[in-house]
């Protein structure tokens, strides 16, 4: 036991000898989590897509369009000047720019010449969503006029108007009724975020960023175990161990346990950051969280151990650890939700531990599940750990 602690202490001294290690250990993970989560608003904030609107008309019709957009569940309109809107759009700081021109008024609407303009960034999903929301708003505003016109034509079928003035008065009255009906329209769709009904968890998209970054930044240094082996092999210290009463098992156990312990500490700090700064509900089931984090850390450490038996130099190991860490994180859904990947890729990525770790963490923080629910994910991660530890230990050589 004393030897194990001595190895862990030695590894800690080597790893944290440079102050830059702290940058990778906590500064960068926190910065990435904060910045990526900053791109997605919290549970209390407005999650709708920002839509820049230029209201050059300032008429009742343009105000109605704005009011309808305000009701949208998809976009959040922000009225700006033409110059400001165009500038933000040209600098690609806005997905779409919606322009209500000066001639947009009731007479243009009645004459059928009303036209509005939408500038969209190409291949931008937010711009597509904004377009749908705008069409819905326009349909709503148009429908009042359409309804009034329909009322006039229905009335004309039954009893022709005596004069144009009477017709106009009937149209105005119908328009007023139509607008009132629109205003009084009850909600016809209700959205419920899927979660366990007995343990309500507020859905917060920032949970994705927190879980994803946690996995990314912990897997990379654990893959870096390979660099530690390569370093000791290059320095000749592994050979020297042969002359000491330290067995291969003790050395490997000490090295791996130490790195897993640091990983668990790092993950705990990131979880605390998520809870304290992002108000995420990481602490609902601490035991389940501990199980999935430990399983994930062991799986990553096992992969690092196996990598260490194939890689010859420290610089090779460092580069490959970062590369594998980043690629596995990306494909495991840690940066972007897996729903965005094609079906085949979504199936294939189940060979990666990052996919299972992410699924387990999302089960806890997004779906409000407990220990029993994450056991399959934890089981698969432990399976990865067993397989790769066996390969790594079997192939391990001092020289």
């Amino acid at each position: 036991m004393k030897k194990l602690f001595a190895i862990i202490y030695k590894d800690a001294l080597i790893r944290f000898a440079s102050p830059w290690e702290w940058v990778f250990f906590i500064v960068l993970p926190v910065a990435f989590t904060f910045l990526l989560a900053g791109g997605t608003p919290s549970g209390e904030q407005d999650r709708r897509i920002r839509l820049l609107v230029v209201d050059e008309a300032g008429t009742s019709v343009s105000h109605q369009v704005l009011a309808e957009l305000e009701k949208s569940t998809a976009v959040r309109s922000e009225v700006v000047s033409r110059a400001e809107g165009q500038k933000q759009f040209d600098e690609r700081r806005a997905s779409a720019l919606f322009i209500l021109p000066a001639d947009l008024d009731i007479s243009a609407l009645n004459a059928g010449s009303a036209e509005v303009e939408l500038l969209q960034q190409p291949n931008n999903i937010n711009a597509t969503v904004a377009e749908r929301a705008i069409l819905t708003a326009l349909r709503s505003v148009s429908s009042a006029v359409g309804a009034a016109n329909n009322a006039v034509s229905q009335r004309e079928k039954q009893m022709p108007f005596a004069s144009e003035a009477e017709r106009q008065a009937y149209f105005n009255q119908s328009l007023e009724i139509a607008r009132q009906l629109q205003a009084d329209a009850p909600p016809r769709v209700t959205v419920i975020e899927g979660d366990t009904p007995e343990q309500q968890v507020d859905w917060d998209p920032r949970a994705n960023s927190s879980a994803g970054q946690l996995i990314t930044w912990v897997f990379i240094p654990l893959f870096g175990i390979s660099a530690m082996f390569a370093y000791e092999r290059q320095q000749g210290t592994l050979r020297r161990l042969l002359t000491t009463p330290c067995t291969k098992a003790t050395f490997l156990l000490g090295t791996i346990l130490g790195q897993v312990a640091f990983a668990l500490l790092q993950m705990s700090l990131l979880v605390l950051f998520g809870m304290a700064v992002l108000n995420l509900q990481w602490g609902r089931d601490p035991l389940a969280l501990a199980v999935i984090l430990t399983a994930a850390a062991l799986a990553a450490a096992a992969l690092g151990t196996t990598m260490g038996t194939f890689i010859k130099s420290e610089s090779q190991a460092n580069g490959l650890s970062i590369m594998f860490g980043m690629v596995m994180a990306l494909l495991g859904g840690c940066w972007y939700p897996l729903e965005l990947f094609p079906e085949v890729v979504r199936t294939v990525v189940h060979i990666l531990p990052t996919t299972w770790a992410m699924q387990g963490l999302l089960d806890l923080v997004l779906r409000g599940r407990g220990l029993v629910d994450i056991l399959p994910e934890a089981g698969v991660l432990l399976g990865f750990a067993v397989v790769f530890f066996v390969v790594g230990i079997w192939r391990f050589r001092y020289e």
């Binding site: 830059w20 997605t40 597509t128 909600p187 899927g194 090779q316 580069g319």
Partner: protein, 415 residues
């Protein structure tokens, strides 16, 4: 000058012999671009990665509008976007969503049609709401399903309001028997539905930035994003070699040879620059060959690559001037690579970052470089590239000047 070029070429050769460095410089950004291509659906021919969104429908209404909504999901228009399936009860759909087998469930309750279309003796004025049970792990897909339902409801409301307006506008409607009003309303609702078409009274004129000239490929953003991020590794790796040569004793040996210190430093900087140009050039070429990205103006592309590498080389040199050992420069370089990667938009679009981050991003060659590459991909030419290229050149020149002062203070190039 010849010596300077020879030193530069020697460093380029050394770098391209280092398999570990090559893996990181070329393979990593290539693999990440490949992964991002899957996310953006760039290999499927679609505009985004979303397709075949699994949605479960429960039609308890079994009447006109409920059936119409089900038909919308099974329509030809949505056949590639959604993959609908039916379920008998709401409880069954909840389970499917919770087990991540569906992005959302749409439950159309019994009486939905009756709450909107008056039917003789059965009109129920109480609103009956369609329930969307969405999967929080698939927010984008669930959002698409919600948008489809919203649009359907919007059309239904249009018909309802049209019919109701026609009815309520009739003078003396309040005194008519309720059966007569209901019959009239139903007739008018149907008329309104038949009369309406999909166009609105306000026409929407659409325009996409640069889309007239060229179809924008998301990989035209992803590929240079990754190349520029890993370029920071390359320039710090090159800078690191100055300190490594000093530690190994080859730099002092060079200094006692009939070579001036500025020639050696110039040669090293030239080597870093050449390595960066080779790296970005190969990755951009690979994006064209393997991913079919079209870069348009070739001259603008070459100038942009040179300017981006010049700006990044300035940073590489500054890191070398600040660092005390090769290891320190290496760690510093990796940190800066990742920090600039996120600040410069290599991971997520700058549009999604807070305003202060967007402002800070201007110090990175990644942000300016990506701006230029996106301009090119959108059909822009040299005139549109003037701003990013100038910014990158100014950045590089300023950082070279600062680094030169720091080098003089730290005496790195002294025997």
């Amino acid at each position: 000058m010849l010596k300077l070029i020879l030193i530069g070429l020697k460093d380029l050769k050394i770098m391209f012999r280092d398999r570990a460095a090559l893996t990181f410089m070329l393979l990593a950004p290539f693999l990440l671009t490949l992964g991002l291509g899957f996310v953006t659906g760039s290999f499927g021919g679609g505009g985004s990665g979303l397709s075949d969104i699994p949605v479960v429908l429960v039609n308890l209404d079994k009447a006109e509008l409920g059936n119409a909504l089900v038909d919308v999901f099974y329509s030809e228009e949505l056949s590639t976007l959604v993959e609908p399936s039916g379920a008998a009860s709401a409880e069954a759909t909840y389970r499917l969503v919770e087990e991540d087998q569906a992005a959302a469930a749409v439950i159309i309750p019994a009486g939905f049609t009756q709450s909107i279309i008056p039917t003789a003796g059965t009109f129920s004025p109480d609103p009956v709401q369609i329930e969307i049970y969405s999967n929080p792990a698939r927010p984008t897909s669930a959002g698409v399903i919600k948008a489809i339902v919203d649009e359907f409801i919007s059309r239904v409301e249009e018909g309802r309001i049209s019919g109701m307006t026609a009815i309520l506008s009739i003078p003396g409607i309040q005194n008519m028997p309720s059966e007569q009003v209901e019959a009239l309303a139903r007739g008018m609702f149907e008329n309104a539905e038949a009369d309406s078409d999909s166009t609105t009274a306000i026409a929407l004129k659409k325009a996409s930035q640069g889309a007239d000239a060229v179809q924008f490929d998301p990989l035209a953003y992803m590929a240079p994003g990754m190349a520029l991020m890993f370029l920071m590794y390359t320039v710090s790796y090159g800078g690191r070699s100055i300190l490594a040569e000093k530690a190994q004793g080859t730099l002092p040996r060079l200094l006692v040879s009939p070579t001036l210190s500025y020639q050696i430093l110039g040669g090293k900087v030239f080597g870093i620059f050449l390595s960066g140009v080779a790296q970005v050039g190969i990755l951009i070429l690979a994006s064209s060959v393997f991913f079919g990205v079209r870069w348009g103006d070739s001259f603008g592309l070459v100038l942009l690559i040179l300017a981006a590498v010049f700006g990044a080389t300035g940073w590489g040199l500054l890191l070398t001037a600040i660092g005390r050992s090769a290891g320190q420069v290496s760690a510093l370089g990796s940190s800066v690579m990742l920090i600039f990667g996120i600040l410069g938009g290599s991971f997520i679009s700058l549009e999604q970052l807070p305003p202060f981050v967007r402002m800070v991003s201007k110090i990175t060659p990644n942000a300016w470089g990506l701006d230029g590459f996106t301009t090119l991909a959108l059909g822009g030419g040299l005139p549109q590239l003037a701003e990013p290229i100038t910014a990158l050149l100014v950045m590089g020149a300023s950082l070279f000047a600062v680094s030169a002062i720091l080098f003089r203070r730290t005496n790195v190039m002294k025997r």
